[in-house]
Amino acid sequence: MNNELNEQISALADGELEADPARFLARRVSNDPALSETWARYHLIGNCLRGEACPPLRTDFSAAIWARIDDETAAANPRSAWLGRALRWSGGTAVAASVAVAALMMTTPAPPVGVVSEGLQTAQVSHSEVKPTGLREQDLRPDLSRAAHTVSATRRSQPLMPMWVANANGQSQLIYLPLQSGQNPPMLETQPLSPLMPAALQPVQPPLRDGGSR
């Protein structure tokens, strides 16, 4: 296989290959250091036979030429070099941003149960009749002081009752106990419950509108 390839290089050096194979082989040789060396030695043999021999060149003769060409290209086009670096940097940043957005979209934490159903059910009742209610705006805001402690366990269908108890160290500690049926929660006793939705989600009448209706 190697002999066959070298024979083709030999023919290429003599200009005796057809155009297409010559183009293909030249591309291959130019990208393969070992084949490039073979190509160079075949021409050196011809030089020696024609009396054009010279002492061996530096081993990095060709590499040094390319190093100079690359350096001069970069020095002559600092803007393009800077632009290239900037494009590479911005490209990397864009990829990172895309990944971050995709990750956020896939892992957006679920809002509290009531909030999700609020959006859904508000859409369902958007054209329904608005009932007058005595709720104020602050009644609709989430009560973080209570719910944040037991988010996963808190459901509006099962309200909790705060209670101070003494722990093993004799210190006071606030805990929440589920309410028994028929027992009113100490802070939610005024909320009118609807059979369709939690009380906090019922449409509210804007307090600044005249007449109290839309």
Partner: protein, 251 residues
């Protein structure tokens, strides 16, 4: 049919050992068939080829140049590796110091690369490269405060010119020894080759014949010519390879 070949008068000024090799070819061939002698003339073009000879090799150069011009700069590396020894040998006629000579040769290739976009193929690539090399060498001498030689050698003659004359006069014995060793290995290996391989490689490299012309001269198919030339090159390459990369560094 065996066709003998005799054309020693038009050999480039090659070493005596090489002349002996060619003479041996001629002698043995003439002995085998004294009536079948082919004379191919003695005139050469500016690229060293005879008139009427199929100049296929420059087409390779032109194809590589066009590839570089179309953006494939690695193709230029093949041109560098093809002509690096030849051009450095030419420059050594102007600059005796071997390290300096290689610097100027590298500079010449870099200038050629920069100017390659303007190369239209009106001249052969090597002729164009040769002029760049000579001008770079002269500019180098002027920049160093030295006077460049006035007896210029024409680009065509430079191909056949014995490139090491000045070098041998003033360069270090180490480099001259390395050059002589390389030359000796090549000529000895060629001399030891079988007749058909030796004739094929000589007709190709010394006389610049195409495969078709060699096949007519040797009376064998072109594929056989191609195989013989490769086998000869491979045999020489086996001996030459250990010398490569063994540049003697001047202390």
């Amino acid at each position: 049919m065996s066709v003998a070949y005799m054309d020693a008068s038009m050999l480039s000024p090659s070493p005596l050992r090489l002349r002996n090799v060619i003479a041996a070819i001629n002698t043995s061939s003439t002995t085998q068939n004294p009536h079948a002698v082919v004379s191919l003339g003695s005139e050469r073009t500016d690229t060293g080829a005879r008139p009427g000879m199929v100049e296929q090799e420059p087409n390779v150069d032109l194809a590589l140049v066009q590839r570089v011009q179309s953006g494939d700069k690695r193709a230029f590396d093949l041109l560098v590796r093809k002509y690096q020894h030849k051009l450095t040998s030419v420059i050594s006629r102007y600059i005796s110091d071997w390290a300096e000579c290689q610097d100027v040769a590298q500079e010449s290739f870099i200038r050629a690369y920069r100017a390659l976009g303007n190369f239209r193929g009106d001249a052969q690539f090597y002729t164009w490269l040769y002029k760049i090399g000579v001008n770079t060498a002269k500019n180098h001498l002027v920049a160093k405060g030295r006077r460049p030689p006035t007896d210029d050698v024409d680009a065509g003659d430079a191909v056949q010119y014995d490139g090491g004359v000045l070098l041998r006069d003033v360069d270090t014995p180490e480099h001259e020894l390395a050059r002589q060793e390389m030359e000796r290995i090549v000529t000895d290996t060629v001399a030891a080759l079988p007749d058909e391989l030796r004739t094929a490689i000589t007709l190709r490299e010394v006389d610049g014949l195409s495969y078709e012309e060699i096949s007519e001269a040797m009376g064998c198919p072109i594929g056989t010519v191609r195989s013989r030339i490769f086998r000869a090159r491979d045999a020489i390459d086996q001996k030459l390879r250990p010398l490569m990369g063994a540049e003697r560094v001047r202390p």
